[in-house]
Subunit: 448 residues, 2 copies
Amino acid sequence: MSDPFAIRVITDHGEAVEALTRRHGFEETTLSEGARRGIRRIFGEDLTASEVVDRILDDVRTGGDEAVKRLTAQIDGAAPEQLEVPKAEWETAFRSLDPGMQDALQTAAEQITRFHEKQKRSSWFDFSDEGALGQIVRPLERIGVYAPGGTAVYPSSLLMTAVPAKVAGVDEIVVSSPPHQGMVSPLILAAAWVAGVDKVFQIGGAQAIAAMAYGTESVPHVDKILGPGNIFVVLAKKKVYGVVAIDQLPGPTETLIVADDSADPRITAADMIAQAEHDEMASAILITTSPALAAAVRAELDIQLETLPRGDIAQAALLNNGLIIETSDIPTAMTLANNYAPEHLCLLLRDPWSAVPLVKHAGGIFVGEHSPEALGDYTAGPSHVMPTGGTARFYSPIHLNDFVKVINVAAANEQAVKRLGPATIALADAEGLRGHARAIEYRLESKR
Amino acid sequence: MSDPFAIRVITDHGEAVEALTRRHGFEETTLSEGARRGIRRIFGEDLTASEVVDRILDDVRTGGDEAVKRLTAQIDGAAPEQLEVPKAEWETAFRSLDPGMQDALQTAAEQITRFHEKQKRSSWFDFSDEGALGQIVRPLERIGVYAPGGTAVYPSSLLMTAVPAKVAGVDEIVVSSPPHQGMVSPLILAAAWVAGVDKVFQIGGAQAIAAMAYGTESVPHVDKILGPGNIFVVLAKKKVYGVVAIDQLPGPTETLIVADDSADPRITAADMIAQAEHDEMASAILITTSPALAAAVRAELDIQLETLPRGDIAQAALLNNGLIIETSDIPTAMTLANNYAPEHLCLLLRDPWSAVPLVKHAGGIFVGEHSPEALGDYTAGPSHVMPTGGTARFYSPIHLNDFVKVINVAAANEQAVKRLGPATIALADAEGLRGHARAIEYRLESKR
């Protein structure tokens, strides 16, 4: 048996509660020295990330394409002739993939389509003697999806956002992704092809968010912006919130596994590592009723990290934010999990369904040994874009509702005005709004 | 016949398109001299509204109740002993109203309850040979409703937010409203009583938003903050977005009426005035196919404004933002209306239902002469909290969905992992995430 990995282990309940209870939500992070150097080079002075984003937003709002190209040249090294990537290039990118990869993208898209088709909501009307009330459900007209580029390229995230939009009936899906060495990643282009998006722009960072929020000569302004990104992207999304809708402010990814003595240590450790390999800020937490499992998982972590290509990243994440909590029983474990409100909640239990009703806060629940988060990340069907940082208390994963809006409809008749008129007039007058009261009185008088 | 009111009239289509097409969304407004004086008095220097809000948020986050009381004393003139208003006082406030008013509040609450009960969504599961997929729909645990006080007291807005939350099953509804001369408006307290809220705090402005977002010794932190307010409240909501969820960033209220020659000029003018009397920034727009109606409405506006208690405000709003557009036909009128994406869209047409399918963007549609917006403001049933400033392109009115969240559930079995495993591994490896691929491979190997 290998050495137990030096992850933090908590056996005291109070300490566990404290470790898992957090103030949720987005906070501006400290910039790396490299990022600060880049800012001084481009803007000629030290600026906070927030100040950088303010400048970029103003610049693109007033300068349009010219500003976008200038910023792209400064930030990404070279400005493209054309901001839009022609559709033929996406198709080429897709056709150039090996057949297994083509099939994988299509399988993922089909699974996502199927899951989201079940979520379709209908407009509804309720007719009565007093007329009709109802709600019209309409897809958004145009959305923008940000797809990060550079070192981290996630075609799956593009599918997880664009495919649900397509199912919802969004008219036009625009993608923006930073050029890396002069071009958008072929994997992103191939995913755009598979998802059936409408336009792809080679623009990254806050300038992409600005272009989609305000519109430029080339980039149409959209109604909602979705997708993950670095601190500049996230800050830009927060700042344009209200000008457009946004999905959420994503933070580092996180998983919480609740396991009993039936769990396989090798699989449990693999799931923790799959989370931890994302980046050094990722969190992987195990809550277990079995001290034996806890010990075996620590040994497995050590073995598996040894041979993992991204072992350094995963190890740093596990040391920074990893946690094993030993607790007395499953209900207590679930209460702790609810305190944390994890993005991913994985149930490696003998009877995993019995724990599902105990879940109050989570982005997604992965029920049982054959539902690893890794399946959820790619092919299970639900979107892997889920609330982080405890915001699962109030946010939902991306789903069909993100791509529709509701219009309320009131069609009262004379009888309704007669019945509700006196109450309406009383309330209007109580609020000092005589004009509202009159609008009702004139109808009550009207003999037409 | 009275003089025609000097509202702007447009007969040219291009000019109408330009007048109605706007960049949507929230922008910081200029502060009045009175507000600036207040800021200098309290903070000892000139600050922008955004800077004021930053200070208040920091102050309350670190200082808790003590900070809230100090700010309340400075801003509202006196700090209350206790921040919470005991429930007995709400009941007294309700019992002190005349029976007509008691009945009016209850009628409104019943209508709102009925409309929102029809919107309930169920959790769902779809079982197959590969396991199960589904979504759990759960009410939020705790929400905060801001109810403005001082000169503008709208008990109806409190009902329009708290009652849908109650229907959705929210565990705890917290209300915060500024004290005026040492107490919260009795109408707000009575509405809180009728709506069945759980706690009322006498705190106003950005300090109320901060207290509900971060929590203090007295005020529990909430999951979502809703409700209208002044510029400080709106800015504070935007700044705490992500720490909590928020409903939207409300701007000035607006109505757009589409009318043909069947419309009654007196009623049409009354509906414009009912909108305009809210405040000087309110917008009331009439688009009509009938020049005769346009002329008659202008005369009616003049007559009705004469005797309106808030005539000065309504007149200023109509001169600032009022508009009458004469156009050729109903489809053109509806296209113009969609360009504007109004909060309220009123159809005063011979055949109003035929125009409903042409609506792309609106907060609420008011169908026909007996569905005045005034009814919608109080007793029709749909919430009157609706998207403004063109954000109806992507936001919905407050409805049941605002008070629930979704948790995705994936329960794949061995067969699912077998079928989806290869695609999952291919995608994980393409993204450089070997740990994800392994989590699948170990399952495929597992013989247990």
